[in-house]
Symmetry: C2
Subunit: 255 residues, 2 copies
């Protein structure tokens, strides 16, 4: 019961006032300004969830499509499915393995090991004919952001960089963690007894993904709210990485 | 900005004091008692997330494994992967289609159209040699629960029945919605302009799954907390069903 009481009352807090992010922007400073503008005081134990899009923009992970020469494959696929061949080309360049390429949809593996649509390349909420790529090293981005925030604020918090991925078999996208710093992304209940003393078999929870999904309920797709604070979640503090969420190819049944 | 302000401050509230659920239990009464024991007052606009396990138990969706005669296929698969053949048999009986059956793992489609491990059949947190099946009609269960709560409490709330599913390519399980009543499980931003006036292409969010994941952060696997209230999320009120989350076989690239 004490454990349940400890977890009572998680809050999801929106940070407002974020400007449109430009390449080279200091995200740490913008977050601290958003915190102040929102009347929120960050506390040790908070989880700050930041959308991938602002991290990518600040890191300049943008490609001007006017500079992209589509390959023959990109051109043929685009012609067949009425896509922008330059966008298809960028997706192919960001992929290390194609899982499915059909019906105008490309599901591929990124250099990080994530399997997602279009290798995470996105054109929405980007000005002009520009494609936005995933951060080169989202775990590193999360760690840098966390270190800078801890240094400036003097508190111990965790950082998650989130992106919205589709899934097989279910309609709609949900937010997942593509970068993690300061928390264990997986909570492993294997080997612990359940309420009946039976040892649980498969109970590894992807809490970083659940935190990212929870934050999406606030950040939404249209509200310009790229920063969300999750307060009151008793996460395991350690040097975790989103890379731990990537399934090993040996156990992947859907290559 | 007004939209962002409206969504500020979602709360996740645990309801304590739920007893071990028995077949035939009146979940509505138990929820109202939990609400009272937790010092929470349910409000119109709340989303009540209930774990599948308690719904299944209350509905008597339990199978005594001592009564199960394994088929030859179940016996062979169990022998090969050191599983309980009676449990494998129950999984096969609950499946309408096998998606993968290898390495001791069965991924199959249930009669509801959900694709998940073991057809949702679970042995953890169940007393004795008993397997717990998914509710026959989780959307119906959610609708009944919602109607009874609205009648007794005089408020308009939404109900989600959640279960934890694995996913391809990512480690760990996350909670998703298998039953929905009173809210739109998908929020469709297609056709709406993004911050740059560009019409968004793929922005259908599975908010019911995100609500289920958020609730899992409180209910956990071990704390006996099967009821969680999500407060402050401005969901679209309508007669939604979790069946809307099931991908049509024509668009499913991972049959």
């Amino acid at each position: 019961m004490s454990e349940a009481t400890a977890s009572t009352g998680i809050q999801l807090l929106a940070l407002h006032g974020a400007p449109e992010i430009q390449p080279g922007d200091d995200l740490t400073r913008l977050i601290i300004e958003s915190v102040a503008a929102s009347g929120v005081v960050l506390e040790s134990g908070d989880v700050l969830v930041v959308t991938q899009k602002v991290v990518s923009k600040a890191e300049g992970r943008l490609v001007d499509l006017a500079t992209v020469e589509p390959s023959d494959l990109a051109q043929r696929f685009a012609d067949r499915w009425k896509k922008d061949p330059r966008h298809v080309e960028v997706v192919l360049r960001e992929s290390v393995r194609l899982v499915r390429m059909d019906r105008g949809i490309i599901i591929s593996e990124t250099r990080h090991g994530f399997v997602c649509a279009n290798a995470g390349v996105d054109a929405s909420n980007v000005a002009g004919d520009v494609a936005c790529l995933l951060p080169l090293d989202p775990d590193g981005s999360a760690a840098s952001l966390r270190a800078a925030l801890m240094r400036r604020l003097g508190i111990d918090l965790a950082v998650i960089i989130s992106d919205s991925f589709g899934r097989p078999w279910r309609n709609g996208i949900t937010n997942v963690a593509i970068g993690v710093a300061g928390l264990a992304p997986l909570t492993d209940y294997r080997g612990q007894p359940d309420d009946f003393g039976r040892v649980m078999q498969v109970s590894v929870l992807a809490v970083a993904d659940e935190l990212a999904s929870a934050a999406e309920l606030i950040s939404g797709k249209i509200n310009r709210c790229p920063f969300v604070v999750v307060r009151g979640y008793p996460y395991e503090r350690r040097d975790g990485r989103a890379a731990e969420l990537v399934m090993d190819s040996n156990t992947d049944m859907f290559r």
